[in-house]
């Protein structure tokens, strides 16, 4: 994946479910700082909630980094876990697919809610997801 544009503007460890709420709050604040519109914020923070929960449930925890991009002004997050990885990404992105409790709309849904979505996963090495949104 492309290198980070700068130092992250925020970082949230995802170790327990309370951290998913912390991730939502941190991203929500970052979007407020960018002057994001209500709808855009709701969409992006919801997507963040999905992938953070995914990292916790399937990846055994991880870390969420928040970046602010200039030119064009955007928010980007990167969510990294060292879990078992996803064998078939296309299948995981399909609505209705789930290996745990998320009802299988999580990843595919998250992708629909953001302006850019990248996923990289290696079996046994973990999963990294990057998402971007205009404010």
């Amino acid at each position: 994946m492309s290198g980070p544009p700068a130092q992250p503007a925020g970082r949230v460890e995802l170790r327990q479910e309370r951290d998913v709420a912390a991730a939502r709050i941190a991203v929500s604040k970052a979007m407020d700082a960018l002057g994001a519109r209500a709808l855009r914020k709701t969409r992006f923070v919801t997507a963040v909630s999905e992938i953070a929960r995914n990292a916790l449930d399937h990846g055994g925890g991880g870390v969420l980094e928040i970046y602010r991009l200039d030119r064009p002004r955007r928010i980007m997050i990167r969510c990294i876990d060292q879990g078992p990885g996803i064998a078939d990404i296309d299948q995981a992105m399909t609505d209705g697919f789930s290996t745990a409790r998320s009802m299988g709309k999580g990843l595919g849904g998250a992708r629909r809610l953001v302006d850019a979505f990248r996923i990289e996963s290696r079996v046994g090495a973990g999963t990294t997801i990057e998402m971007e949104a205009n404010p």
């Binding site: 479910e17 998913v20 209500a38 709701t42 919801t46 409790r101 849904g109």
Partner: protein, 120 residues
């Protein structure tokens, strides 16, 4: 009961106010608390107010749908009220339109509907 949600009884209707940034455990606890209260108080109506929720993701959406289903099984008609426009649009995009749940604009709209059916 945790701080994240409270259950009040008004006119034999159980009002559930969910606060923002509720955790997964909170909402699962809520499920248990609510079903017990419905049975204990023989409530025929439940109103779940989610006006405080800025975000409803698939997990919370699924719990809301389950709350409605459980209440209905326990003979209490359940309304989800106060959903924000941005939340409604996002849920539809996620493919979660809560087909089995009744909705109303606000608490008073839901209470009016329950009264009309003699459930409040």
């Amino acid at each position: 009961m945790s701080e994240a949600a409270s259950i009040y009884t008004v006119d034999k209707v159980l009002l559930v106010a969910i606060r923002d940034n509720i955790t997964d455990t909170d909402i699962i606890n809520l499920q248990e608390d609510l079903s017990e209260r419905i049975v204990n108080e023989a409530a025929r109506g439940v109103v779940i107010d989610i006006a405080a929720l800025e975000i409803v993701d698939t997990f919370v959406g699924r719990i809301l749908a389950q709350l409605s289903s459980i209440s209905r099984l326990l003979a209490a008609e359940t309304y989800i009220v106060g959903m924000r426009p941005a939340v409604a649009m996002t849920l539809v995009e996620l493919g979660m339109d809560l087909p089995g749940s009744k909705t109303a604009l606000s608490l008073s709209h839901a209470l009016r509907a329950l009264k009309a059916k003699g459930l409040a």
